[in-house]
């Protein structure tokens, strides 16, 4: 049977994630030291896990309301006001989703009509492009540059806008570069957004993980932007809750209500157990965030220093838990470099091209690992470079 004739054309046209093949190599190899994973190495704080367990013990095993439990939405509202200074109504402006990923998908499908253009700064997380295509939109890639600290500039944005542009994805703090946008950078972007009457999907899933004196600034807190922004965030990165699959979208009621409609048909409601745990996380978890953030910061310093000493140029990341060193010194492509490294020294890092073609010449290295693990990986990478005489 010729399945290509029955399968949807758009989905057949999607490139499979280039990284799969590389992961297959890593998974089959013994004694691999990996610095490739994009999730916290911490387990969910025990008091949060306990609330999840307790909810099961009490038999709380039913669906939740479509939008998520009222108490959870209330806590999300408090949290976002407390940490990022933007107020959202728990009744009409918050939707609890299955991870931040679902919120991204819902938002794109809710905004985009056939032929609309979606601006996607890259390098960035892998999902924006395929989700845009599946929604009938056309992704337009904006290449961010290491000389700008991988930030999106107003000029780059302005140059990419056409009469068909409808939505900008703003993925900061950024996976894979670790770039952050400060208030002044966001204000420059906001002027362009206002001028061209665009909507912004601000993916702030790493919003709690910024280092240095200035905390993350939510795009919705920039003057005039709240009414044209959907903020996506969740519990995975800040509370080490990836496996619980819980995220949320915050935005103006007319957008959130349409997203809720879609969510209601496609998903019904986010996992109940996870929602009970998340309520506890928001109520009593601020110190957990702080503890993990401090630990990441220590690892970040160690790894950036390690790469600099090896002669791999490394822009100092200020957010998330990734560094994005340049491997151009090797003369190899990102994929070649990562493949040789894994074969020679059994260290797995991710080719920059997994996050867009403009990631060529870079590799993503996660520091969501213990200090000992990071040290061992650095020694091996150093050995690799010495043997190859770079």
């Amino acid at each position: 049977m010729d399945y290509s004739k029955i399968l949807n054309n758009k989905i057949q046209g999607l490139k499979p994630s280039g990284i799969r093949r590389f992961f297959d190599i890593a998974n089959e190899m013994d004694h691999v030291i990996s610095l490739s994973i994009g999730e916290p190495d911490f387990t969910t704080p025990w008091h949060v896990r306990q609330e999840g367990i307790e909810s099961l013990r009490r038999g709380k095993t039913w669906y939740s309301p479509n939008k998520g439990f009222v108490e959870l939405r209330g806590q999300i509202s408090n949290y976002f006001a407390r940490r990022f200074d933007v107020e959202y109504s728990p009744d009409t402006e918050i939707l609890v989703t299955v991870g931040g990923s679902e919120a991204i998908d819902l938002c794109i499908r809710t905004i985009i009509d056939n032929g609309d253009e979606v601006l996607v700064p890259q390098p960035s997380f892998v999902c924006y492009e395929p989700m845009t295509i599946m929604a009938g939109g056309n992704p337009v890639i904006i290449r961010t540059r290491s000389e700008n600290g991988f930030r999106l500039t107003a000029q780059e944005l302005e140059e990419a806008i056409t009469p068909k542009t409808k939505l900008l994805i703003l993925p900061f703090p950024n996976n894979p570069t670790g770039a952050v946008m400060r208030k002044e950078h966001l204000e420059e972007i906001a002027k362009v957004i206002e001028k061209h009457n665009l909507i912004v999907l601000s993916d702030e899933i790493y919003g709690e993980l910024t280092y240095g004196k200035e905390r993350h600034v939510s795009f919705a807190s920039i003057k005039g932007m709240r009414e044209r922004t959907v903020v996506v965030s969740g519990f995975s990165k800040s509370y080490a809750m990836t496996g619980w699959r819980l995220g949320y979208a915050l935005g103006p009621e007319p957008i959130i209500s349409q997203m809720t409609k879609l969510h209601q048909y496609a998903i019904m409601s986010a996992p109940t157990t996870a929602q009970y745990a998340a309520i506890e996380a928001l109520k009593h978890g601020d110190s957990d965030i702080e503890r993990m953030r401090e630990e990441y910061d220590i690892r970040r310093r160690l790894i950036v220093d390690g790469f600099c000493k090896m002669g791999l140029q490394c822009f100092e990341p200020e957010g998330a838990f990734y560094v994005f060193p340049s491997i151009k010194i090797s003369g190899m492509t990102s994929e070649q470099f990562c493949e040789e490294l894994i074969y020679a020294q059994h260290v797995a890092i991710v080719p920059g091209t997994a996050f867009g073609e403009c990631g060529e010449g870079f590799a993503r290295v996660s520091y969501s690992y213990s200090l000992n693990h990071i040290q061992e990986a650095l020694i091996r990478i150093q050995r690799f470079l010495e043997e190859k005489k770079y």
Binding site: S17, S34, E39, F125, V126, E294, R301, L302, L371, Q375
Partner: protein, 161 residues
């Protein structure tokens, strides 16, 4: 808590250079800070964390509880000093408890040896009015490290972006 101490508590093998990088301070500052901690008696030494359960014929350990009558002048200190001067006593703590006052971790070659040590050396001390001996069967966690091997892999995270 002090981040430098926290790191040293995690792993005493970090070099000054690594500590300086991780803390974002100069090597000179880290070095002098460590010197000061040593001088003040905050850093008391460095030793290796050993899971004795895995070492054949490594003997037995017991946690001994001591109920003590404190001395008018020196309180519990005098008796604690006597208890801690035995080489086979590894740790001694003063506890806030209604059952006992001092807790001592004691090493021995055999159960009999420890039992004898308690009955002959500790119970006979003037101010000791009662003891309880708890033999350690398994060390699950010590010094912040999990000792128990229950077959669970450390690295179970799947490869995802």
């Amino acid at each position: 808590m002090d981040k430098l101490l926290e790191l040293l508590n995690q792993n005493a093998e970090f070099t000054i250079e690594q500590l300086a990088v991780m803390l974002g301070e100069s090597e000179k500052d880290v070095k002098s800070q460590i010197e000061e901690y040593k001088k003040k008696g905050i850093i008391k030494g460095t030793k290796t964390l050993i899971n004795w359960d895995k070492v054949p014929k490594s003997g037995v350990r017991a946690i001994i509880e001591l109920k003590v009558t404190p001395k008018p002048e020196t309180g519990f200190d005098d008796i604690a000093k006597i208890v801690m001067s035995y080489e086979n006593v590894e740790n001694v703590y003063l506890a806030a408890s209604s059952r006992y006052d001092l807790i001592a971790l004691v090493n021995g070659n055999t159960i009999q040896e420890i039992a004898e040590f308690v009955s002959k050396r500790l119970s006979t001390l003037d101010s000791v009015i009662g003891t309880a001996t708890n033999f350690v069967l398994t060390t699950y966690k010590q010094g912040g490290k999990i000792f128990l091997d229950d077959g669970e892999e450390d690295e179970q995270r799947s490869m995802v972006l």
